[in-house]
C-alpha cells in the first residue's frame, strides 16, 4: 500500500514538471516570461513552506533570505568579474549564513514572539540595504551589466537574455528544489520536523534535539529562499530593495497558505494563482494589494489548510 502511494506521488510530481516543460511551447511571450518569474517565486515559497508548513514556524521576515541571495549574487555580478555561476553560489552562501545567524537568535523564541522577531529582523535587513544606498542604490536598485548576462559552464554557453534558456533554467531549479524537499520531507528528518510542528515537548522527550532540528529546517528554508533570490536577480538582471520589504515576506506566507501549507506542491500552485490574480487586478486598480488583504483574511477564516491541504483532507489522503 505504501509503495503504491509512492508511485502515485512520484508520478504526480514528474507529471507537474513535465506539464511545466511542455507548456513553454504553447505559451505566448507574456505568459512565458510570467511563468519564469512565477517558478522562481514558487521556489522562494517552497523554501518558506519548509519552515512554516512542515516545522510549524511562522516567519514574517523571509524576504531577508530572498534578498540575501538577490544581493549576494547581484552585487557580486555587478562589482566583480567572478562570473555568473560563482555569483549564484555566493548568493546562496549569503542566504545560508544569514539564516544560520538569524536562526540561532530567533529560535530562542516561539510562537508570536518568533513571528515578531523575524519581522523585525526582516525590517533591519531592509533598512540596512537602504542605508548602504551608495552600494546598493536602494529602491532604485542595480541593473546587471552585459558581462553578467551570459556565462559558460561545463562547455555550455548560457545566454540569460534568451527567454527559452531562462525558462528552462528556472524549471531546472524548480525541479531540483522539488527533489530536495521531497527527499527531506518524506524521510526520517521530515517525520521529526512534522512531529515538532505537532508537539515540540513530546518530540524533545523522544530524544530529539528539537532546537537543532528547527535550526536545520530554518537554514534549509533560508537557503532555498536565497537560491530563488539569487536566480531572480541574475536572470532578470535587477536587484532592488523592494524585494526585501515586509510585503515580500508576506507574499511567501500568502502563496503557501493559498496552495496549502505542509503540502509539497502547495506553494507552487499558490504562487501561480496569486501571481495571476494580482496581475489581473493591477490592470484595473493601483490598490491591487487589497486582493492580498482579502485573500489572507478569507484563507485564515475559511480555508486555513489551503487548496491542496483541503483536497488532501477531503479526497486524496496520499497527497504529500
Amino acid at each position: 500500500m505504501r509503495s503504491e502511494n509512492t508511485i502515485r506521488v512520484i508520478a504526480l510530481h514528474v507529471g507537474v514538471l513535465a506539464a511545466l516543460f511542455l507548456v513553454q511551447f504553447v505559451l505566448p511571450d507574456y505568459h512565458h516570461l510570467a511563468l519564469t518569474r512565477v517558478m522562481l517565486l514558487a521556489i522562494y515559497a517552497m523554501g518558506y513552506n519548509m519552515l512554516f508548513g512542515y516545522t510549524g514556524l511562522l516567519s514574517l521576515g523571509h524576504a531577508m533570505f530572498f534578498a540575501a541571495g538577490l544581493y549576494g549574487a547581484g552585487m557580486t555580478a555587478y562589482y566583480t568579474d567572478l562570473g555568473v555561476p560563482l555569483a549564484f553560489v555566493i548568493g546562496i552562501i549569503c542566504g545560508a549564513a544569514l539564516s544560520l545567524v538569524i536562526g540561532v537568535i530567533a529560535l530562542r523564541t516561539t510562537g508570536v514572539a518568533f513571528m515578531i522577531v523575524t519581522m523585525m529582523f526582516g525590517q533591519v535587513a531592509y533598512l540596512t540595504i537602504t542605508y548602504f544606498t551608495d552600494y546598493t542604490r536602494g529602491e532604485e536598485g542595480l541593473t546587471m551589466p552585459t558581462s553578467a548576462r551570459s556565462f559558460d559552464l561545463l562547455g555550455l554557453h548560457v545566454d540569460l537574455t534568451n527567454a527559452v534558456q531562462r525558462y528552462n533554467l528556472a524549471l531546472g531549479l524548480l525541479a531540483l528544489t522539488l527533489l530536495v524537499i521531497f527527499v527531506v520531507v518524506r524521510g526520517p528528518i521530515g517525520r521529526v520536523l512534522i512531529a515538532i510542528r505537532e508537539n515540540e515537548t513530546r518530540t524533545l522527550m523522544l530524544g530529539f534535539d528539537t532546537f537543532r532540528m528547527k535550526l536545520g529546517a530554518l537554514v534549509l528554508s533560508g537557503t532555498i529562499s536565497a537560491m530563488a533570490g539569487a536566480a531572480y536577480g541574475l536572470m532578470f538582471a535587477y536587484v532592488g530593495a523592494t524585494f526585501a520589504t515586509i510585503q515580500y515576506s508576506i507574499e511567501a506566507l500568502l502563496f503557501t497558505l493559498l496552495g496549502g501549507a505542509g503540502t509539497i506542491l502547495g506553494p507552487l500552485l499558490g504562487s501561480i494563482l496569486m501571481f495571476y490574480i494580482i496581475d489581473i487586478t493591477s490592470e484595473y486598480t493601483q490598490a491591487y494589494l487589497l486582493v492580498t488583504g482579502v485573500a489572507l483574511v478569507v484563507l485564515v477564516l475559511f480555508f486555513p489548510k489551503g487548496i491542496l491541504g483541503t483536497i488532501r483532507e477531503r479526497w486524496l489522503s496520499w497527497l504529500p
Binding site: 511562522l58 530567533a106 530562542r108 490598490a287 494589494l289 487589497l290 488583504g293 489572507l296
Partner: protein, 293 residues
C-alpha cells in the same frame, strides 16, 4: 542657534512625539495584554483616524476649531465601530488563536490601507489646527498647538489609568487579562470585553492621529511608522504592561527626537530595531515591565 535652546527644541519635539506614541502604543498594549492578540493592523486604525478627521473637518466649513473638535469626537467613534465590527467578524471566529490572528490582522492592514487608497487617494491632505498661537521664547517661537497636544495626551492617559485602576470596567479587564478561564467562570462576558477592548485600542490610536493630523498631514501610508514604533515601545515596556508602555514611549519619543539630530534616521532605526529585537529574544518581559507571573 546655541546648543541649549537647540536641545530644548529637540526635547519639545520629542515630547510631542512621545505624547502621540504613548497613546498609540497604549492601544496596542491594551489589546495584547487583555486579548493576547498582536494587532498588526493597529497602525491602520491610526491612519484611518487621521483620514476620517480630514473628511469630517472638510465637511465643517465654519471655524477650523469646529471641524477639529467634531473630528476629535466623530473619528474615534467611527474607527472604534470599524474595529468592533472586524473583531466580531474576524478575530472572534478565529477563537483568538495567536498565529491566525496575526495573519488575519496583516490582511486587515492591507484591506484598510488599500480601501483608503481607493477612496481617499494617494495624496497627503492637511487638517487645520483649531487655533494658531505662537509662544515666543527668547530663542525661537513654538506652536501653542503642539503644547495642547502634549497636554491632551496627558489628560487622556490619566483617564485611561483611572478607568483601568479605579472602575469596575477596569477591574473586569484586568481580571480577563489575568486569567481568562477564571474570569469566565465568574460570569464576566469575555466576548463583550474583548470586542470592547479591541475597539478601545483602535480608538486610542485614532485619537492620537486626530491630535497629530494638524501637524502632519493625513496620508494612506502614514500608519506604518507608528505601527513599528508602537511595537518597539510595547516590547521594551514589556508585553501587556501599561506602566512599562508609558515609560518606554516617553523614552523612545524623546530619544527619537534627540537621536535623529545626531545620527542618520535610517541608522537610528536600524540600531533601535535591532536592540529591541534582542530585548524580545533575551529579556521577553521587557525592560520596564513587571516580570511575567
Amino acid at each position: 542657534m546655541a546648543f541649549g535652546p537647540f536641545l530644548l527644541l529637540a526635547t519639545l519635539e520629542g515630547l510631542l512625539q512621545a505624547a502621540v506614541l504613548t497613546l498609540t502604543a497604549l492601544g496596542l498594549s491594551l489589546v495584547f495584554g487583555v486579548m493576547r492578540v498582536v494587532n498588526v493592523a493597529h497602525g491602520e486604525f491610526y491612519m484611518l483616524g487621521a483620514v476620517v478627521a480630514w473628511w469630517v473637518a472638510s465637511m465643517f466649513s465654519l471655524h477650523p476649531a469646529v471641524g477639529f473638535f467634531a473630528a476629535l469626537v466623530i473619528s474615534p467613534l467611527i474607527v472604534g465601530a470599524i474595529a468592533f465590527a472586524s473583531e466580531r467578524l474576524i478575530l472572534k471566529r478565529l477563537n483568538y488563536d495567536p498565529e491566525s490572528t496575526i495573519v488575519a490582522t496583516i490582511g486587515m492592514l492591507y484591506i484598510i490601507q488599500q480601501t483608503v487608497l481607493l477612496t481617499y487617494g494617494p495624496d497627503a491632505r492637511p487638517v487645520s489646527a483649531p487655533f494658531y498661537y505662537r509662544i515666543q521664547l527668547p530663542w525661537f517661537g513654538y506652536s501653542g498647538y503642539n503644547l495642547f497636544v502634549i497636554a491632551a495626551a496627558i489628560v487622556l492617559l490619566l483617564a485611561v489609568w483611572f478607568v483601568l485602576s479605579r472602575t469596575r470596567l477596569g477591574l473586569i479587564m484586568r481580571a480577563t487579562q489575568f486569567d481568562r478561564e477564571m474570569a469566565q467562570a465568574f460570569g464576566i462576558p469575555i466576548e463583550r470585553v474583548y470586542a470592547f477592548v479591541f475597539a478601545a485600542g483602535a480608538m486610542l490610536a485614532a485619537i492620537a492621529a486626530v491630535l497629530i493630523v494638524p501637524i502632519r498631514q493625513a496620508h494612506y501610508l502614514m500608519g506604518l511608522d507608528p505601527l513599528l514604533l508602537s511595537f518597539i515601545v510595547v516590547i521594551l515596556g514589556g508585553l501587556g504592561s501599561l506602566r512599562g508602555t508609558v515609560i518606554a514611549a516617553l523614552l523612545i519619543g524623546l530619544s527619537d527626537g534627540i537621536i535623529s539630530v545626531f545620527f542618520s534616521p535610517t541608522l537610528a532605526k536600524i540600531i533601535s530595531t535591532l536592540l529591541v529585537t534582542l530585548v524580545l529574544v533575551f529579556k521577553p518581559e521587557g525592560l520596564f515591565g513587571a516580570k511575567a507571573r
